[in-house]
Symmetry: D4
Subunit: 237 residues, 8 copies
C-alpha cells in the first residue's frame, strides 16, 4: 500500500480492449496461400463484433472456428445473419466461401460419431477454401470390417485426415493400408486415461506406420490447413 | 479473409448431425457375444433420440451407459418411459434386458460407498446381459475385517470385479486371498493426488498380486464385458 | 555429529541380507493355484543363491523371471546347471517344469519382433505351469493383412495375450475381431513419446474394444498368471 | 514352487530368437511406395545378422536406422563391408541405394549443430529412396538473421523438414514465412525441462503456424517417409 | 462417532474468517521497494471488504489483481466507486496510483490478442507503481515481419516483458534480437497440448536465447515486479 | 442390441442408494482411538440424511468434513440445526464434540490467508476430538520476520501442523527451527504451476528439513488425525 | 568470443571444491535433537575425505547415508577402517554410535525383500541415534496372513515405519489395524508404472487410513528422523 | 528392401560432421553484449577440436560450458593446455577471459554444497565476462540462521543468483528479504520426487516472493547471462 493518495480522480483511465489490440493478417493469403481465420474460443462479443465490422467494411470473407452457439447468438443481427453456421464443428463462414474447385482430393475420416466435432471442422475448413472432400464416419478399428469396406475409396485420395480419440489406432491402420499422406488428429473424447486426448496424441506419434504426421488434439482446422499446403505443393509443381 | 465475396446466399448449407454419422454395430453380438451399448456422455438429445428411434423401430433392446438424469429427462416421453433407469450408475435399459441365466458367478465389490457409481455400472451391465451377480460394498482395506468376513463368499465366484479409488489396495488384497480372476477397476474418487483416479490406476497396475487385470478408470461397463468374455470362454469349452 | 565417541569397536556389527529377510511363499499354490515365482531383477547373487539353496534342499521347482545372463553366470555351478534358461525372456526353470496338460488354449501374440522379450516371458510362464500355448509374432496392425491371416487360429483360443508397444493398437483390433478374453500387455519398446511404454499402456486402457483387460508394462509373467486364473476358473465350473 | 521335480534333463530346451520371429515386410513397397527399413536400436548382433543374411541372399537393398557404431563393428565382415555407414545419423545403406531422381524438392533444416543427428537421418533416408534434398544447419531463431538469409532458398522447396530441440521455435517461424508443407521434428537435445524432447514436441504441436505437422521426438526417418508420401501424392496426380 | 453426546449447545461456536486471519504487509515498501498487492482470486466479498476497510481507514492506496467483475460488483458501493477497474487484466487501483516518473523504460509485448489479459496486468501493475511503459500487441512469430517492424522501438527499452502462449516462441526471438533484459511470461491460452500454459512455460525455460528469465504461467503481476526490481537496481547504482 | 425384447415391464427395478450401501465403522474408536468421520464431498442429500438418521437414532456424535454450504442447507431441518458448521473449513459437528482435555499441544500454522480453509479443517478436527490447539496465520516465508516472531511459541508445541501452498517453503523452515514433529500439508491454492497443489506437495516431500512428514494435498483432517495418533502415543507411554 | 586475448597465463586459477564450500551443521543437535548426517550420494572422494578429516579431528561421530561400496573403498584407509558399514542400506557409522537406550519403540516393516534397502536405512539410522527397534520383513498384503500373524507385535510399538513399493498397500492396511503413528515410505522398486516409486508414493498419500504420514521415495533416513522427533516429543512431555 | 542393387561401391560416401555444420555466432557480441559460448555436452572431440581450431586461428577467446573431464583430456594438447578448466562447474576458458571491471555486483548463492556445480558455473561465466562476484555457499533455509548472518552482504548486491535443489525455498526467502533482482536457478540434485529438479523448478515458479525470476534447471550459465543483461541495462542508462 502506498503512503498518501489524494482524492479520487473524476475520470478514471479505465482501459478496454480497443482497436489497436487487434491486427488482422490481411497479407497472409499471398504469403501462405490461405487467409486468416479467427479462433473465437476466448474472444468476447465486443471482440468478435469489432473483427466482423472490419471485414464487412472491406467486403471480405472470413472463416470463424470454435464459435459457440452462445457467441453466435450474442452477435449483432446484421453480422449473425451473414454467418453460415454449422453447430457440430462450431464453424461459421462470414460471407460466401471460396468456389469449389476440382474433384474431392481429401478423405476426412472419423473413427466414431463422437469424433465428428473435429472431422467436421476439418471438412468445413476445406470447403471454405474451395477444396471438395469426402467425409467418412464410424470406421473405428474395434470393428475393423467397417474400415476395410471403404479402403479402396480412401486409397484414391492423395490426402487422408484420420480423426480418432481414445486408443487412436485408426491412423496407424490406414497408414499401413494406403500410400496417401495420412494426417492424424487426436480428439479429446473419452474419460479416465483417455480424457483430454493425451493418450490418443501419444499413440499417434508413436505409430508404427511410417510417415504418419500428427496435429494437436482437436485441431481439425490445422489438419485442413496441412492438407491445403500439400495440395498446393502438388499444384505448384 | 478472401478478396471479393459476392452477396449472401439465401439458403445456407448448414449441416447437422444426420443419420449418416451414426452407424450402430448390429452384428456385434454374433461376432463378440454381446450387443452394442451406447455411451451417452457426450451425445446430444437429438443424437440419442435418433439412436432410440432406430432401435425402437426394429424392436430391439439397448444398454445405455453414462446417461445423465438431465439427458434422460430431455428425451421424448415415448422413449423415456421405456427406459429402466438407475441413477447412481447412470445406466438405462431400453427395452427388456436379457433373461437371467444360472447362478451368480461374478462378485462385484466396491471398496467404499463413493465407489458404487462404478460397481453398480458393472452390476447393471451384467444384469442386462442376463448374468446374475452379487454386489458387496464398503469393504475397503483400511478396515480389513470387513473384507475378511466376506472372503469365503467371494472365493466361490469364478470372477471378481474389485472397484476402488484412492490407494486402491482392495484388488491386491483380494488377489492374494482367492484364486478367482480378479478384475481391478480404479475410480476417480478423491482429491489431491488421488483425484482423477490416476493413483488408483497405477497402484492396481503395479500390484504384487499375480495375475490381477486392470480396466480404465471408472470403466465398470468394460469390467462387466471382460467378465462376460471370461464366462463365455468357460461356457464354450 | 555426536559429542565424544570412544574408540573403534573390534568386531563391527555389519549386517548383511540374511535368511530372515527371505520368506518364500510355500503355501501359495493351494491358495491361488500356482507356486511362487522369483523376480530376480534387483536381487544379488547371494540373495538368489540363498533362495535356490532352500528350494534345492526341498526338492522343489521354481520359476525365475527377469534373470539376466550375468546373474545366471554368477550363480554357483550346481545351481546354474539345473536351470533351463531362455535368454530373450530372461526366464529360467529351476528343476523340471509342470507336465504339459491338454491342448493349447492360449494364443500369445507379439506385434513385432522387438516385443518378443515380453511375449516369450508369458509363453515360458505358461509352459512352466504346464499350459500349452501358441506363439504368434510380427502381426502388428501397420501391416494388417499379417494379422488377418491368423484370425481364425486366434479365435479358437479362449484366452489371447496381445503384446504390443508404441501405438499398441493390436489388442484393440483383436478385441474387435474375436470373442475370446483378450489380455493386453504394453511393452517399453520405442523412443520419444513411446519410451517406457506409458503411451502403449494408456492406449490399451482407453481401447474402444469392450472388455479388453490390461497388465503393467512388460508384465508378461502377470499376463500368464491371469490366463491361468481364467483357465482354472473354467476348469473349476 | 512345485512339489516333486525329477532329475535334470540332459538337453535343455533353451529357445533363442529364431527365424520364425522375424518376418520382413517384402510387399511394403508396392503397398506404400517404399521398402521396409530396419530399426536396429534394440536388436542383437544375431538378430541383425539373420536379417542381413536374408537380404543378401535375395540380392536386395536395405536401409538400417539407429545402427550404433558398436553394432556395426560386431557384424560379420562380409555384411559390414557392404554397409555405407554415416555415424552422426547412425544410418547404414546395405547395398546400393535407389538412384537419385530429379531436382532437390525437400529442405532438411536443423536449428543447431546438435540437432544434426536427426536431420541427417531424414536426409539419408531421402537419399536412400533416391530423393535429392538440401541440408541447412545452424539457423535457430535465437539468431534470426541466419534463417532470414536462407528463406528464399527454402521457399523454393515444396516440402520442408524442420528439426529443432529445446524451445523448438524454428518450424513455427518457417511455417509463417513459406507456403510449403512444413514437417516439424522435435529432438531430445537439451537438459532440465528440455530433456527428452517433450517440451520441443509440445511447442511444435501448439504452434500458431497454420498447418504445421509434427513427428515423434527424434523421428527423422518418419519425417522423410512423410515427405516421400507427399512427393508421391504430387507425382501421382 | 463418539459414544454419548449430551444435548445441543445453544450458541454454536461457529467461526468465520475474522480480522486476525488477515495481516497486511505494511512494511513491504521499505523492505522491497513496492507495496503489497492483493491477489483477489480466491477471496470472498467479506474478505475483500475487510481489507479495503483497513486501507481506506489509513488513507492508503492498494493494487488489486485477479479481481473479477462479479467480485467488483459485490463490493460495498463506497469501496467500488473508489476503484479504477480494467476488465481485461482484472486489475483495480484502490485510491490514486503512484505518480508517473520519467520516460517509458519497459516494453510489454503480447504475442496475440488473446494474451492481452496477462500483458495488460503487467502494464497496469507498472502504471500503478508509476512506471511508464509501452504496450505492443499481435507480434507473434508466426507472422514474423510484424515483430521485425517494431524491433528498433523494443531495443530502446532496458526491460522487455514478452507474453506468449501456445508455442511461446516470441521471447526467444526477441532475446536473440535485443540486448535488453527479457522477461518471458507464458499464458494459459490454447487447447490440447497447449492448454494450461505448461507447453509455453517449458518452451521458454528451454529457450536458446541466453539470459532469458521466466515467470509462472499468467503471472503478469510478477513480471512487472521483476521489471521494477531491475529498474530500481539501475536507479540505486 | 438384443434381438427380441418383449413389452415394457410395469414396475421397473430401478435401484437407488440404499441402506446396504452404507456401513458406518462404529468400532473404529476402540481400534484406532478416534471415531469415524464422514467425508461429504461426493455424497448426495439422501446419502447424508441416511447417515445422520443412523447416528441421531443412536445418540452418537459425528464429524462431517467437506460439507458444502449447499449440502448443509439441503439437509432436513432437524439434522441441520444440530450441526455446528464452520464455513471456511466446511466442517460440521453433529452433536456435541468431545470435551477439551489439557493444554494446547498442537500449533496449526497457515502460510497465508488463502490456506486457512485447510488449517481450519485441522484445527476443527482437533477440537472435535477434544484436543486444544493454537492457530497461527499469515506467516509465510516470503515475509520471514512474521514467522520468527512466533518461533518460541511454536517450539513449545510437541506437534506442528504447517499448511502452505505454492512454493510451500514454510514447513521446511519450521522443521529447521524447532525439534517438534512437523506435519506438512500442501494446499491446492494458486495458479499456473502451483495449481492443484502438486508443486507444494513435491516441495514438501523433497524438503531438506530432516524428519518432516507430509499429507495429501488439502488434507487438514488427516493431519489432525496424525497429530492425534502422535499425542496418544505420547499418552500411552 | 572476445576480440584480443593475450598469451596464456602460467598459473591457471583453477578452483576446486575447497573447505569454504563445506559447512557442517555442528549446532543441529541442540536445535533439533539429532546431529547432522552426511548424504554421500553425489559427493566425491575428496569431498568425503575433507568432511571426515574435520570430524575425526574433533573426535566426533557421524552418520553416513547413501555411501556406495565404491565410495567406501576409495576413502583413505584411516577413515575407511573407522566406518561400520552396512551394504544393503549403504549406511556407515563413523565412530561409535550413540548408546542404545530403553526398549524397542519402533517397528520397521518392509513389504518385501527388495524393499529392505530402505527399511534397513531407517533401522540403522535409529540404531545410530541409540533407538532400539524391531525389523519385520516380507509381510506384503498380497499374502495377507503373513502380516496378520505379526499384528499384535506391531501394535505394541508407538511408532511404525512401513516401507513398500509398487502398489504400496501395506501402510494403509497397518494404519487401519493399529492406533500407532504410521509413517509410510514408498520405495523405487519395480518396473513399468511402478518404476521410480511415484505410484507407491501417490497410493500412500491417497490412503484411506486416517492419519497416515508419508516420506519422500526411498527416504528411510527421514522416516527414522520423524520417528525420533515423535519419540522425543513423547519424552519431553 | 529394394529390388536389384548392383555391386558394392569402392569408396563409400560416408559423411561426417564437417565444417559446414558449425557456424559460430561471431556477431553476437555487438548484438547482445556478450560473445557466444559453446555448450559441450553432446559434442564429440572432433567437433570441439574443429571449433577451437577456428577460434585459435582468429586469436579469439571462448567460454566452454558442460565440458567433462574426459572431453578435456581427449582434446589435442595444444588446445587443452590453453584451457583454464574448473572441474566442479565443468567450465573452461579458452584464451584469457575479459578483464575484471569494477566492484562485485552479483551475489551467487548456493543452498548446499551439492548445488555448487551450478552456482560455480554462474560465477565462472560472470568472471569470464569480467564481472566480479561473490560466492556464498551452504545457506539453505533448513538452517535459517546461516542465511540471516549473510543478509546484509547480499542486500548490497543489485543482482542475486540463488541456486537451490529439492524444496528450493532459498530464493523465496531471499526475495522477501532484499530488494535486489533475484534470479532463481533450480538444480537437479536429490532423489525421489526431487530428482531431475522438476520440484525445485515448480516451487520457484510458484514462489510467493514478488518478482522472483527463474531459469531452467541447472542453468547457471543462463543465470549469469541474465545478470549481465541486467547490469548492462543499468550501465546503459
Amino acid at each position: 500500500m502506498g503512503d498518501a493518495p489524494s482524492e479520487r480522480r473524476t475520470s478514471p483511465p479505465t482501459m478496454t480492449h480497443t482497436r489497436k489490440d487487434i491486427k488482422l493478417d490481411l497479407e497472409r493469403h499471398e504469403r501462405l496461400g490461405f487467409d486468416e481465420a479467427v479462433f473465437c474460443s476466448a474472444k468476447t462479443t465486443a471482440h468478435l463484433t469489432h473483427i466482423l465490422d472490419q471485414v464487412a467494411g472491406r467486403q471480405l470473407r472470413l472463416l470463424l472456428t470454435r464459435l459457440s452457439n452462445q457467441q453466435l447468438n450474442e452477435l449483432p443481427e446484421a453480422h449473425r445473419t451473414r454467418i453460415d453456421y454449422e453447430p457440430i464443428s462450431r464453424t461459421g463462414y462470414f460471407g460466401v466461401p471460396h468456389d469449389l474447385v476440382g474433384e474431392p482430393r481429401v478423405a476426412v475420416i472419423a473413427a466414431g460419431t463422437s469424433d465428428v466435432y473435429v472431422s467436421r471442422e476439418a471438412a468445413r475448413t476445406l470447403r471454405y477454401y474451395g477444396q471438395p472432400n469426402v467425409e467418412i464416419t464410424d470406421v473405428g478399428v474395434a470393428g475393423l470390417w467397417r474400415l476395410l469396406e471403404r479402403v479402396d475409396e480412401i486409397r484414391r485420395m492423395p490426402v487422408v485426415i484420420a480423426v480418432a480419440g481414445m486408443d487412436a489406432a485408426l491412423p496407424t491402420v490406414i497408414g499401413g493400408l494406403v500410400p496417401s499422406v495420412v494426417i492424424g488428429v487426436p480428439t479429446s473424447v473419452g474419460y479416465g486415461v483417455a480424457s483430454g486426448g493425451e493418450s490418443a496424441l501419444r499413440a499417434m506419434l508413436a505409430s508404427c506406420a511410417p510417415g504418419l504426421v500428427v496435429m494437436n488434439i482437436d485441431n481439425g482446422y490445422g489438419a485442413a490447413c496441412a492438407a491445403l499446403r500439400i495440395l498446393r505443393a502438388i499444384g505448384s509443381t
